[in-house]
Subunit: 249 residues, 2 copies
Amino acid sequence: MSTPPKGASPRTPLNRERVARAGVRLADESGIDAVSMRNLAQDLGVVPMALYKHVSNKDELLDEMINAILLEIEPLPADFEWKSALRHRILSARQALLRHPWAPHVIESRQSASPVVLDYMDSLVGIFIKAGFSLDLTHHAMHALGSRMWGFIQEVFPTPASPNDPAEQAAMFAHFAARYPNIIEMATAADHPDETRTTQGCDDQFEFEFALDLLLDGFERLHQSAWSSKTHSRTSSTKLESAVRGKRN
Amino acid sequence: MSTPPKGASPRTPLNRERVARAGVRLADESGIDAVSMRNLAQDLGVVPMALYKHVSNKDELLDEMINAILLEIEPLPADFEWKSALRHRILSARQALLRHPWAPHVIESRQSASPVVLDYMDSLVGIFIKAGFSLDLTHHAMHALGSRMWGFIQEVFPTPASPNDPAEQAAMFAHFAARYPNIIEMATAADHPDETRTTQGCDDQFEFEFALDLLLDGFERLHQSAWSSKTHSRTSSTKLESAVRGKRN
DNA sequence: ACCTGAACACCGTTCAAGT
DNA sequence: ACCTGAACACCGTTCAAGT
């Protein structure tokens, strides 16, 4: 008897969710580039065209894969102080996404929001509104969170290509120090200075929480200055002032 | 006589920069998906393989396309108050990227930083350092900016798919109002309530500047509370406090 | 009526054969 | 020595032919 293929056994019929979960597994194991309709079909022991009965095209497959991941996010905590509720929920989303390193990029490539996505966003909006935030400030805050609401920030250009040869590495470092003095100064002062790489050795989780707290504190400040109606605030930022006053132009 | 192909005339020889600029033009005109080695070669009137003498693979082509765009960013303004310098520089980057809607996605897909990228980042780091920011705070601030330092935020799931049929649209709106009450409440309170679409009718430029100012104000506050050495701050955020004190764990 | 192999119109990249 | 057509190993998706 021939061994069944790697995926689900051939007896259990496919469905949308099973296809999506197989896609997630394949992406986790072999990277998102390995997720092709043909590859996934082979993984599931079916002919490529068979997948088109469950998802109408590849985009829909990717949508479903993201849905499957977002369902892992923990529900709203019982504790309902707005700041810690937001914090908890967003950090939980982060935990879910960290299990799937390919997910942020796929999420940002999606065109339209699925119900699962809207549920999550609705829950965040609800936290602001229940805390008494104005609808305008809620709206601005959601935009300011941006993709951070999903628990990730896309690190842009994290590591410059680094050669293996130590001599070359030293030469590159010297060249770096000459051309990018500020970056080098900043990087060599980091907590782990044993590392020569430019942006290595920094704690992603810390940086994420730092930026999240900065935003949440900012929201709180604007919210308070709004209901204390002291619009003669000492901040010089016109956008923030006008947002608090609820006046856009 | 046969008309020369769309791109550069066949007399002027190709080089790295010309290939990159042709890639940018092609992406602007026909979208990033139209930028294939084969398509681009045809546009330039050469055989596909000819491109491989100027870029060693497609990733390098995309790197060069991004470089070409980043060179459009205005240099540091003479006015060197840190906040307005950062603001000016980042909003200038935004202007450059807005001309090329495909660019944000390509930027976020790059693996390593090119010299042009590092130049820009070094200039931002330099602004913080010259203003007397601690190296740690500078580091956190750069991370908090994230991809916003390039003048964009990747809007995640902007528009839920909307049907054309008005009757269907009304039905969808009703379903929305029932399932996503908070989103609907927030959206219908927006400045342009004539729009039924959920996240339509909001001013991207305003939202970008709002979030940027929120971050810059946050940086300023942390910077001031650091050199005034009042560490018994009234903020409850542990990450922010420990960052100010320069202590990470 | 259902299923699917083969085909279509593409990719990025390699390489050997031709000049 | 240089250049490049053809080939390789893939894509997503369509569709007609077979059962």
